[in-house]
Subunit: 424 residues, 2 copies
């Protein structure tokens, strides 16, 4: 049994797939039977000439030799159909596909349970950081009360560079693109879609209930200025792009993605550059944090290959699949709407520089029961406008929005520049 | 099968045992059949009247009803014999016992493999932080090149208080004792014995080879002053009590325990108070760190109960035990002697305040090929002695010791106050 090789099929030879092949190609425990690529003519950093290569990904799913299908193509099409077919053919799955697991996880887990095969997806969130296994098995003795993660290296790199070098968002983005940390079209990263997939997955494991990705509130980082970062620091915070999941009320989960002011003493505040970190609060364990590189060829391949080795060592034990199946309820949980969430708020306004401006802002917030923690005015611009920054105490978002609506009507208001939430 | 309860025997109702019973007592999946205590008359924070209580721990090991023996007594006697007996009777083991696993792990793992039962010990290091499972299964795709841990909350608390409040070691220790973070006899913590057990365990998992605890070099924190902490900060370091394990040379492991100057940008530098953190460097994953409360009733019980739940879900699958067995070589690895290790060094001297002192120190180091990074003199005491602090570049310890021997002979030397290693 120990001498028999586990036979693999690999779908996708991009960044992660290349790393997986590099880690596995000389491993005597494995045989790579078949590899599917999108473009067979492309030159690659890994030599595929030793392998059976196809552009027909479905042929890997149905290949009767293969024990484990390794899906590292990403995206929905054709990955979803390939994985469905492979499960139907009785193959185990190892995948790094956050979008597929976030959107179609419940369907795939149900199919896998039916066919008694296993789906492992440690690489889908946080690169090589062992997050998934921690939530699935390490914290079984806990009720989880919060999962908060810096799970997108691109936005963390941009925010870190803005802070350290006093850059604007656009400059920092250009630099991140030049350094290979941001894509030519950075939308999925800077607008929070990538984080939404990941927090949907973490939430489903922490609370045993899936959520609809499209229902997750998202706010991007594009409107943040280096002034916001500097002032947040003066108030004792760092701005981080956070995916948050926590119990909302009796029936709903509070799951959302937005830049967040993190208190400087919080473990997440110190996570810089392209690193990722996930903070978890559990009823017994207290507060723990897992930290490391969240992306990149080898860190992500480390998680994929770790899953493959674990699965291979277990695959021949009868009934083993049941041990690895996540216990996620088949119906999606309802999400608490963003205006019902509670937060502190950091708000930057442009106003006319006339007497009484701060008074009328304060009155508007008071009218809606929003209590202010601090008010700062920063200089006056050449056009006679003043920048005013407010920090509120904890309050329900709906009240802040109502106050902002009133302020928008005030004649002295030029612009509501940015509204950021504070982690409390 | 799902409706059948897993039957537990618990040995030890101290801090951790109390937490385990609290987490399990209303869990319908488990039945606590028998509990062994040292003193049946002692009043406890948990009500044992519902349970079968004995002072004969061996009777738990041999009780035919019990599936899993939970050993949370700590120490060697009687824990080791109880665990041996329980394994011989075919019971699975969950333990929090760092000393037993560090000293007798290989024997117990071999016995367990023979009897096809499983030993889980996530709670032995780092409380509820999922370290053991990460090293055992999460990083299987990696060659590990370093494990460095802050794994003793007592010493980290003392060093943090010394830094923040400018306290001497004695004052900080007294305060830690008053706060319940240090024991009346703090020797095992402040002299590094507790860390030695833990790094022995982590090393055995990272490098698949056990080490003899007694051979691990240990240096305590008792001679560190708040001046050392302040000057280290000026040089760009924080002093942390570290358990370190890394490949030494071709045949030996470099495993040791000592206070260490950690560069301020390193993730371990920011770990304060009673928290623990383990930094791991792997060939594929890069640098990751796991952080959280490393001790305490519920965090540690969280790990014990997590192991119990994992084991219970797997226990009835045939051959399952083999999946969980650590692959540790039966023979202990040889340890690189401390004088063959390479480090930077922080050295504090008391010397006479006479011309040429710094020159003769520098000459002594030069004679032994030790290159200096910086030299600082801090004031002159009423007795006419001066405090001089040196920081060296990376060098083999033997050369530093030879230079110090020469300096000890110099007429101007009053005392070599402290020699600390710098992480490089």
């Amino acid at each position: 049994m120990a001498s028999e090789k586990t036979r693999l099929g690999i779908v996708g030879v991009g960044t992660v797939g290349t790393g997986v092949i590099q880690l596995l190609e000389d491993d005597p425990r494995f045989e790579i039977c078949r590899i599917a690529v999108k473009d067979a003519t492309r030159s690659r950093e890994v030599d595929l000439s030793r392998f059976e290569v196809t552009t027909d990904a479905l042929s890997v799913a149905t290949d009767p030799r293969i024990d484990i299908l390794v899906e590292v193509a990403g995206g929905i099409n054709p990955a979803l159909e390939v994985v469905r077919q492979a499960i139907s053919c009785g193959k185990h799955i190892v995948t790094a596909n956050k979008e597929m697991i976030a959107k179609h996880g419940p369907e795939l887990f149900a199919l896998a349970a039916e066919r008694q095969v296993t789906i492992l997806f440690e690489a889908a969130v946080g690169g090589g950081i062992p997050l998934i296994s921690t939530l699935q098995r390490g914290l079984l003795a806990n009720r989880i009360s919060r999962v908060a993660g810096i799970v997108n290296g691109t936005t963390n790199y941009i925010l870190t560079r803005m802070e350290r070098e006093h850059l604007g968002f656009g400059q920092a983005l250009t630099e991140a693109q030049a350094a290979g940390y941001a894509e030519a079209d950075p939308t999925d990263d800077v607008e929070g879609r990538d984080v939404a997939y990941k927090i949907a997955i973490l939430s489903s494991l922490a609370f045993q209930s899936s959520v609809e990705v499209e229902e997750i509130y998202r706010q991007g980082i594009t409107r943040i200025t280096d002034l916001d970062i500097r002032l947040s620091a003066e108030f004792g915070y760092r701005i981080k792009m956070i995916g948050l999941a926590q119990p909302g009320d009796d029936t709903r989960l509070d799951v959302r993605v937005h830049p967040t002011l993190i208190p400087l003493g919080h473990p997440l505040a110190g996570v810089d550059g392209v690193n990722n970190a996930i903070f978890i609060k559990g009823s017994a364990v207290g507060e723990i944090m897992l930290f490391g590189p969240g992306a990149g060829r080898l860190p992500t391949a480390s998680a994929v290959v770790g899953d493959i080795i674990n699965l291979a060592s277990a695959i021949r034990l009868p009934d083993f699949a049941s041990y690895f199946q996540p216990t996620i309820a088949p119906h999606a949980a309802r999400i608490l709407p963003i205006d019902e969430t509670e937060n502190g708020y950091y708000i930057r306004f442009q106003t006319m520089d006339v007497p009484g401006v701060i008074g009328s802002l304060g009155t508007a917030f008071g009218n809606h029961g929003v209590s202010l923690h601090s008010v700062t005015q920063k200089g006056v611009a050449a056009d006679g406008s003043a920048t005013i920054i407010l920090l509120t105490h904890r309050v329900r978002e709906r009240q802040v929005q109502a106050a902002l609506e009133e302020i928008r009507q005030q004649a002295t208001t030029r612009e509501i520049g940015v509204v950021l939430r504070v982690l409390i």
